[in-house]
Amino acid sequence: MSATDKKSLAERLGLKVYSGVGNAGWGRTLFAAVISFIYFFPVFWIILTAFKTHNDALAIPPKFIFSPTFENFVAVFSRAYSAGAAAQDTGFALYFFNSVFIAGTSVLLALAIGTLAAFGFSRYPLRGNDTYLFIILTTRMLPAIVVIIPIFLMFRVAGLSGTYIGVILLYTAFNLPFTIWMMKSFFDELSPDVEDAARIDGSSDRRVFFKICLPQVKAGLAATAVFGLILTWNEFLFALLLTGVDTRTVPVAMAQTIGGDIGVRWGLLAAIETLFLIPVIVVTFMLQNHLLRGVTFGTIKR
């Protein structure tokens, strides 16, 4: 029987099927599985804790078998702040929206600006091109804590403190150097012949960029977007100082959830984290195929 005869349902539906062992053999597969489990264990433990009651979460020895509860997830959005009081809205719906909105907008902005800048740096180099690129990168060389005070003061004076625009601008500026460097290396890898051909075929610079170059760097856009998104999504320090009550992001709100009359509510925190993980996981999975190509781009000689 040939391989094509025994196609599974998934294969016939056009889904990719990864057979369990492949060429690696059982030993290596097992080894890889153990290593990845060690990596994944903290995440696994967070998800597990999210479904535990407060007592189960604190139990020693740790419980792997317990009766799961959704009370933590309910409490994320609405809970009583003191024993016997009525349940209140915690504002987390807004914080999740803020995180999505701020991270999404700033990553898209950084991609739009950074990709154009990168194309410029790659195709129309200035005298001292590398110096400019280096200067752009220096903005990321200082630890955040060093720049936070001047930025805080600037934002106060400019009235940007606590506004969406302020945080989005800051995160965009934060993502730009990385975006420009990443995208420049992708543009550098493209064959100049293809662009020459497009020019000879009568395409303007704009058409060359949008129709010819941009589709070729999709993988780069995906990889850059995911890295930028993870960075922005998890950012805490700037968000803590520069967001207001209405623009607070989840990491800040999460930090403020720690504490309370019965000590740290690990179950609640784990539930927030579990929810917080979902968007990143979804985006990463969506872009996974591009991502792999993006990360390995340029490492294989064509």
Binding site: D196, A197, I212, Q216
Partner: protein
Amino acid sequence: MSTIEATNLTKTFGSFTAVRDVDMSVGEGEVVCLLGPSGCGKTTTLRMIAGLESVTEGEVKIGGRVMNKLPPEKRDIAMVFQFYALYPSVSIGGNIEMPLYHLGLSAEERRQEVARVAEILQLGEVLERLPGQLSEGEKQRAAVARAIVRDPNCFLFDEPLSRLDVEQRHSMRGQIKEVLSGLSKATVIVTHDQMEALTMANRIAIMRDGMIEQIGTPHEVFSQPRNVFVAGFIGSPKMNLLDGRLLTVKDGKATIELGADSVVFPVPAAAEALVESHLTIGIRPRALEPVDSPSERSLTGQVELIEPMGAETLVHVRDEDERDLRVVLPRERKVKPGEVLHLACDLTQTHIFDDSGLAVR
């Protein structure tokens, strides 16, 4: 009018001169090949004509108009690149369609044009595919299709066949020649393969170090090479180039000392001025014929290496001065290594070059 004229075309990159004073003109319907070894400036010349490289000095005229300052998209030319340069994210049909966008054709007209050239180049079945899914030959044909889909001022080909295997190269050579002959456009083809140049071109420009060494019909550059470089570059196997000294010229006949041998050749009158000077004798491998006994126009040597080439046999003969002579013999003529051969020169295929390497005529 579809013509290309280059006058005193020069290109420098910093202190390096890639192309120096290139003069050439390509008439309507004419195919000119730029032929030369790698790095001789032939591709740079082509790119200057295309507008992809700025012109340092001189003038490029296409269709009678000076094009120096015009960007490539305004020159109305079509070019086929060495690596095809197909748009990787666009289907083959889309690739061929691309040059038609700025012509203001309707979608239906564009589709018809694409279908027309797809038929000429047998691409009908792969129009929906992406370039990455095509074979080398199909990619090559798609690149040619993209060039001929509109009606440009002229055609430029940069090493169009270098990526194909021998068989495909043969058939594409014929196909391109056929397609071009139906279009009557000025065409420039860059190649390092002399067979390609000899078969496809009306005229060949042989380049070295940024300069055109000779420009002429395939017949001219083969039968009347202007200098030693052209003589050695054109023709396969390579012409035998032997250092010698002109002893005397008498009654239009020169006695030339070639190491141990000395030969007597009829020479043009101009040779008389060269008495006592060093010169180079060029003898085509097919112009040497084994004879029974030495004569005043024969060379003597021992067979060293035999390379059968099918219809003919290439024999390497080493003479007494340790010089390697390439001789092409008919297949029927059997020789053995170590055998001593007396080789008579066919004077019609023998060339004399002076001290500076220029042909003496």
